[in-house]
């Protein structure tokens, strides 16, 4: 494997441990980004032709004209259910259709009536129905403002950066080609200079775009470099459709904090990009990625969340092509507001964030989610792209992965190791080496000769396995999958119409066209037990390399001029990975006859991927910085719907120090997807290989995870129903607390657990911010009570994982940790009731079978737990749902309690019994012994 890796990716690495930035484009090197970014704020050439306005009940259309080139655009505006405004801009009469992203929205969004409030020659004012919200369309230049009362919530094209490169015929093909080639050569030369950090050359480059911006104002647009052909390194992009980029700016008055647009290895709060590259969204297999920069990574969700103490809003830019996002913050109020709005903004001191989106092709299709609360934005976005899939309970347990577990014997001994060291785990994983020569859907005939035997062995212990299935298919006439795909014509085509071939793990490989529904259906059928030989119901799937990764392709991915039917790869690129996971998840559902929930992990993702499974942060490294950044990376994903996120525990590349490994196990125990993984070239690192002391520390971390599985599970149920993130930044729950807005070293799980993992080497203590001036927080380990709205210094040792339960919450746990989550199915619950200052608390308890879709048929238990007036009660939240459980309540722990004289339990049948309890006066902890009622029953418990 190592030689392949060297060949494919690392030739020029020469032993250094960092991304080779030269393999990936900067904005300057990406022709459309360079072109678009050269456009500076100013008066927009676009004008709204108000006379073309048509308003049906729910749809407004209007033509825009570019006064420079007279090309007309069609603007559509919709009011969508749930306080969302959709704005679509396309060419009025494109030469050929432009790509509109399918399969991301879960359905055609429900529209709501729009009405014109007023109209004159300067513009139109539309009512958005609720809360005195209005849209103001200004005609000359075109801009669009969304207002609530006297506040501008968001403005579009207020900086005049709307740009829409219309499709055009290529002029004078021959002579153009010559100039463009010459130009690209010149460009290469310049690039060489600039890469040598020649300040002169850089200045020159900066000056150039300005000139170009000038010239574009001419009637006849000049042909620019990179419009019809672009070369990066040795790869030439043929661009048969010519320039097709789209761009639009958004102004967010009153906003100083924006988040989202994953995936970047960067801070939670997005930075301004004035002095560097924009954030890039282009799914790429980045070898040894670097921290704290805006480079593109494996996945893209073009959703930005803007937050201020007053309001939370979101922008969803539905475009799957390469996209760049510029962010600038303008607290001086330099933005030019239209005259119509001048009276509105009294002060020019209002902080403001300006954002600009640039995509290479497709159309402008944006969803403006108007909040006003963070949770409103989550549900608005969920109404468009769906919610987090409800994972099988077991997949929330611990996953043991490595590239690679060598053979069945190895799997068996690792499995036995967990039992020997009494560490629970649910899934063991097989990376690419398990296959017969990187032919997915097969097993190595020597190393994995009897996979069913192996799977049965795991099943006997109620454990499961994940095997990798990547989307690159070995070109091999003796490989069934390849032959089928080729004969059905399911492969992506190269620009000349042949099957696209690239280099990946198996050597020469082709890539199925997952954008085709028939291809996906076929792919799904390959997971049937009789097709995918050697599989059983406890085998699940992992889709890696689905950016797609093409070792010898431009930027290690597919050529943009490869084709997917009528569309170029350019148009669909960021969607490819989502489709792979979609087809795979569908396969897992189908093989069980639609009964079992799938579990599929993906590396590449897009808006909507949350519906399909889990995502991990790709090939990180065994460094403290990578442990630290796993928090903002997963928080960012959670904000845009993808809750089931995790980073490779221990770090993929390199070998972690024991301290780092232990800390990572501890931090990972409190992140949604909990999987250890390691590169093939690293020494073994199963949890018991670092001496008994560290084994014990890791065991304890994993056990803490397992005790909390009921809480994780019900949070995922909530995420599945509402779209709110499981792992969330503090500001989501404390939206007015400015101190929380940039926090990324701690976070909340649900609403009730605050986690501040130790992510610094040699840490003696951490300072956690406990939010909420009316809140109290209980250390979950010591039960010590702390007041909210304070920075709390917590001394730590190697066993410390600082976690706090919010006063006012009730969290169910299962304290009988067994060797897998399935083994704990029928075990009793302990309820942790943490009282707030008002001496109340509430929480939920969700129970179902843990693995089927039967919850959709209302087969679950969903209860509300409330503590008020010294009475703890369990009330059915879903009276129409039916499910029975063997689980019972074995213990109730009340934190911040006072000593009762007696505790009485009253069950649904009217029976009362007095319960025994312990009271720890020093910590004010009351433990009620063995109340014993069924977890699904109605009951009340009185503390007198």
């Amino acid at each position: 494997m190592a030689p392949l890796l060297v060949l494919g990716l690392a030739l020029c690495l020469s032993g250094t441990w960092a991304v080779d930035k030269g393999n990936f484009k900067t904005c300057e090197q990406s022709a459309f980004c360079k072109r678009q970014r050269a456009l500076k704020p100013g008066e927009s050439p676009y004008r709204a032709l108000l006379e073309t306005m048509e308003l049906t009940n729910t749809r407004l259309t209007l033509q825009l004209i570019n006064d420079n080139n007279k090309v007309r655009l069609l603007l559509e505006l919709y009011r969508l259910q749930g306080n969302i405004t959709r704005v679509k801009i396309n060419e009025l009469k494109p030469l050929k259709p432009r790509y509109e992203v399918p399969d991301v929205l879960i359905r055609e969004p429900t529209t709501e009536p729009l009405s014109v409030l007023s109209q004159d020659e300067n513009g139109v004012v539309l009512s958005l129905g609720v809360e005195s919200q209005r849209v103001i369309i200004s005609a000359r230049p075109f801009r669009l403002d969304i207002m609530e009362g006297s506040d501008v919530l968001m403005s579009l094209n207020s900086r005049g950066l709307l740009a829409f490169e219309h499709l055009r015929m290529r002029k004078d093909t021959f002579s153009y080609k010559v100039t463009s080639t010459v130009a690209s050569v010149w460009d290469n030369i310049k690039r060489v200079f600039s890469s040598q950090a020649d300040p002169e050359a850089e200045k020159k480059e900066e000056a150039d775009p300005a000139n170009q911006a000038e010239t574009t104002k001419e009637e006849e647009e000049k042909v620019e470099d990179g419009m019809w052909e672009e070369t990066f390194k040795s790869h030439t992009d043929s661009k048969p459709n010519g320039p097709s980029a789209v761009s639009l700016d958004f102004s967010l008055p009153g906003v100083e904090h924006v988040y989202g647009i994953p995936e970047h290895a960067d801070t939670l709060r997005l930075k301004t990009t004035d002095n560097g590259d924009p954030y890039r969204l282009y799914n790429l297999d980045v070898f040894q990625y670097e921290l704290y920069n805006p480079m593109a990574l494996y996945g893209s969700v073009p959703v930005m969340v803007a937050h201020s103490a007053q309001r939370t809003t979101g922008i969803f830019w539905l475009n799957a092509a390469e996209t760049w996002v510029d962010i600038s913050s303008n607290t001086a109020g330099k933005t030019v507001f239209g005259k119509m709005l001048d009276y509105v903004q009294g002060s020019s001191e209002t902080p403001q964030t300006d954002v600009r989106w640039i995509s290479e092709s497709g159309i402008i299709d944006i969803f403006i989610m108007l909040g006003p609360t963070p949770k409103d934005v989550f549900s608005q976005y969920a109404s468009l792209t769906g919610t987090q899939s409800f994972p099988p309970l077991a997949s929330l347990g611990y996953h043991q992965c490595r590239w690679n577990y060598n053979d069945q014997e190895d799997v068996k001994s690792v499995d036995a190791g967990f039992d020997e060291h009494d560490i629970p785990y649910d899934f063991i994983w097989l990376d690419i080496e398990h296959t017969d020569g990187k032919r997915y859907f097969t097993w190595d005939p020597h190393k994995f000769a009897t996979p069913k035997e192996m799977l049965q062995g795991l099943m006997d212990k109620k454990r499961k396995m994940v095997a990798i299935v990547d989307p690159h298919i070995k070109v091999d006439g003796n490989y069934k999958i390849h032959n089928e795909i080729r004969s059905r014509g399911f492969y992506v085509k190269n620009k000349d119409g042949g099957d696209y071939e690239g280099w990946c793990w198996p050597g020469s490989a082709s890539y199925p066209d997952f954008t085709r529904a028939d291809m996906r259906a076929w792919w799904a059928s390959m997971f049937a037990y009789d097709q995918y030989e050697g599989t059983m119901e406890n085998l699940y799937t992992w889709n890696d390399m689905n950016e797609p990764s093409v070792f010898n392709g431009p930027e290690v991915t597919m050529h943009k001029d490869a084709t997917h039917g009528a569309w170029e790869h350019r148009d669909i690129h960021n969607l490819y990975g989502l489709y792979v996971q979609m087809a795979t998840a569908e396969g897992l559902i189908q093989r069980s006859g639609g009964v079992e929930r799938p579990f599929v992990l993906t590396r590449a993702f897009f808006a909507g991927s949350q519906r399909l499974g889990a995502v991990w942060t790709g090939d990180n490294a065994a460094e403290w910085g990578h442990l630290k950044i796993s928090i903002p990376m997963c928080l960012s994903m959670g904000l845009v719907g993808i809750s089931f996120c995790g980073a490779d525990i221990g770090g993929f590349f390199k070998s972690p120090s024991t301290e780092l490994l232990v800390r990572w196990y501890q931090a990972g125990a409190y992140q949604p997807f909990y999987r250890a993984h390691a590169h093939v070239d690293t020494p073994r690192r199963e949890p018991w290989l670092f001496g008994p002391e560290n084994t014990a520390l890791i065991r304890e971390a994993v056990r803490q995870r397992y005790t909390l599985l009921p809480y994780w599970y019900q949070l995922f149920y909530r995420a599945h129903v509402t779209g709110e993130p499981v792992m969330r930044p503090l500001w989501v729950e404390y939206p007015q607390d400015l101190a929380t807005f940039a926090l990324e070293d701690e976070y909340l799980i649900g609403r009730d657990l605050l986690v501040h993992p130790v992510v610094e080497e040699g840490a003696r203590g951490v300072t956690a911010y406990l939010p909420g001036k009316d809140e109290v927080w209980f250390d979950v380990h010591t039960f010590q009570k702390h007041n909210g709205a304070q920075n709390l210094y917590i001394p730590v040792t190697m066993s410390s994982i600082p976690v706090f339960q919010r006063g006012g919450s009730i969290i169910p746990r299962k304290l009988r940790v067994r060797r897998s989550s399935t083994c704990m199915e029928h075990d009793p619950y302990t309820l942790y009731v943490a009282l707030n200052l008002q001496r109340t608390a509430d929480g939920e308890l969700y129970i179902d079978d843990g693995h089927t879709f039967n919850y959709e048929k209302k087969e679950f238990i969903y209860r509300k737990l409330t503590f008020a007036n010294k009475v703890l009660s369990s009330v059915n939240l879903a009276p129409d749902a039916k499910f029975t459980t063997d689980s019972w309540i074995e213990r109730i722990i009340v934190l911040g309690a006072s000593k009762p004289s007696k505790v009485t339990l009253k069950t649904a049948d009217g029976q009362e019994k007095q319960l025994e309890f312990d009271f720890d006066a020093s910590m004010s902890v009351l433990t009620v012994r063995k109340p014993g009622m069924n977890a699904g029953a109605d009951w009340t418990m009185t503390f007198q």
Partner: protein, 479 residues
């Protein structure tokens, strides 16, 4: 037979009758702490609870001792009697988890899992395998005794040889010293010739490339040197008999390839007649080794360089001497020739071949295992290599490092270190696990972690005196 069965049946009834007397999951040894009807004190003494709270599926004791038969305590343990097999403790989290852990099925009394009592079968199998192992151990142990005996004899031989060589050396040194003065006077006209030699010497970058024998030939001019040559021959015979496989010092620079291969290769056969040495066993191995150690010429050149680097210090010394003392050359030549003898003999004698030198017979041997892809080769106390089956160069998986077993059985694991480096990784290393067997053979190899190899190796030398089998199997019957 049927009587025995009946007896067993009665016995087991008797046993289960006894078990009723103690709470579920309590071993007999702790029965006295669990007295029916009397308050139970947690075994850590932390608190006392009514007896009906023992095994009532709620954890009252910090140490888990009140719930030996349920999964209520996170730190509890459950005792399976496993009649017919070995009694054992399991973590109480494995009680009623639907997975059969105790062969007597007692851990799954309320989970609905259908467990079969497999204790008798397991017991039988264990006894069989124990018996088999004991037989192997017995035979292996006998072989080991023999090995120890031979090793001791061999060691004495070698010590004696070492003494001989030392004696000869002194003798020769004296002679040379005497000759030196004579020659010095006579040698003036020979200066030119000497310079020629000097040039020849300098021209060769490699110290090793001037093998003692070739030097001997070149300088075989005076009668006195005849005896020197003979002695060199004697010395070389010792060397080749021992096959001098040991890498010089185990300094890191040298680890890549063993020094000895090339040396032995470079002695022309006609110059070194097959030795009159008495040890037949060793002779056989010589043949094999010499044959097998032959490596492609290109590889050899490379290896030479490595070796040269390894041997540089004496070379520098040599050069220095050559420059400093005109006639020291020959003396040094002697020293060099003897040096090899000394070093190898001393080396061999200094190896830790086990408490009774039982592993000495492995020295200078090699053992191979062919897998689907590679041929693995273990040369104990020397190195481990891997060679692709279908062509390709050999990779060093580590050179002899140390005994690395756990404290109570240090000799159960060998560690070979500092093999060929891995891409972006450490240098290759191999752990060899020794188990008792009649044959000396490599039974398996694997690479559990990249560039960290694991080899299973059986040999009689690790065999321990077997315990008395009859008694132990009898005990099992009783249970």
């Amino acid at each position: 037979m049927s009587c025995q069965f009946l007896l067993l049946l009665l016995l087991s009834v008797g046993v289960s009758a006894v078990e009723v007397q103690r709470p579920r999951g309590v071993p007999l040894s702790k029965r006295q702490f669990y007295e029916e009807g009397k308050p139970f004190t947690c075994l850590d003494g932390s608190r006392t609870i009514p007896f009906d709270r023992v095994n009532d599926d709620y954890c009252d004791c910090q140490d888990g001792s009140d719930e030996p038969g349920t999964a209520a305590c996170p730190n509890g343990s459950f005792h399976c009697t496993n009649a017919g097999f070995r009694p054992t403790f399991i973590p109480s989290s494995r009680i009623n988890d639907g997975i059969c852990d105790c062969c007597d099925t007692t851990d799954e009394y309320n989970s609905g899992a259908t467990c079969q009592n497999t204790c008798r079968e397991l017991g039988r199998k264990e006894r069989e395998s124990l018996q088999k192992m004991a037989e192997i151990a017995k035979e292996g142990f006998l072989l080991k005794q023999q090995l120890i005996h031979e090793a001791n004899r061999g060691l004495e031989d070698k010590k004696a040889k070492l003494g001989d060589v030392q004696g000869s050396k002194k003798d020769l040194e004296a002679k040379v010293e005497a000759l030196r003065t004579v020659k010095e006077a006579a040698e003036q006209p020979e200066r030119e010739a000497k310079e020629r030699h000097l040039k020849a010497w300098e021209g060769k970058l490699s110290f090793k490339s001037i093998s003692p024998s070739t030097v001997c030939n070149e300088h075989d001019i005076t009668g006195s040197l005849v005896s020197f040559k003979l002695n060199i021959k004697y010395c070389l015979s010792l060397i080749s008999n021992a096959d001098t496989p040991a890498p010089e010092e185990t300094s890191r620079e040298e680890i890549n390839e063993p020094v000895s291969d090339n040396e032995s290769d470079q002695y022309p056969d006609d110059d070194i007649p097959e030795d009159e040495d008495d040890d037949d066993e060793e002779d056989e191995d010589d043949d094999r080794d010499e044959h097998e150690y032959k490596i492609p010429p290109t590889a050899r050149t490379e290896e030479k360089k490595d070796d040269d680097e390894g041997a540089m210090p004496p070379y520098d010394q040599e050069t220095q001497n050559l420059i400093d003392g005109k006639n020291a050359f020959k003396t040094e030549l002697f020293n060099f020739g003897f040096g090899i003898c000394f070093r190898n003999l001393e080396k061999e004698i200094s190896f830790d071949f086990g408490p009774s030198s039982e592993f000495a017979y492995l020295y200078s041997q090699c053992y191979e295992l062919t897998t689907s892809e590679y041929i693995y080769r273990l040369c104990p106390f020397n190195r481990v290599t891997q060679k692709p089956k279908f062509g390709g160069s050999e990779t060093n998986l580590g050179s002899w490092g140390k005994w690395a077993g756990p404290e109570d059985s240090i000799y159960s694991v060998m560690k070979y270190e500092h093999g060929t480096g891995c891409w972006q990784g450490p240098s290759r290393s191999t752990t060899v696990k020794l188990t008792c067997g009649k044959e000396t053979v490599v039974t398996s190899t694997s690479e559990p972690s990249r560039c960290e190899y694991l080899m299973e190796f059986t040999c009689p030398a690790i065999c321990q005196e077997p315990p008395n089998l009859e008694i132990s199997s009898h005990e099992h019957q009783e249970l």
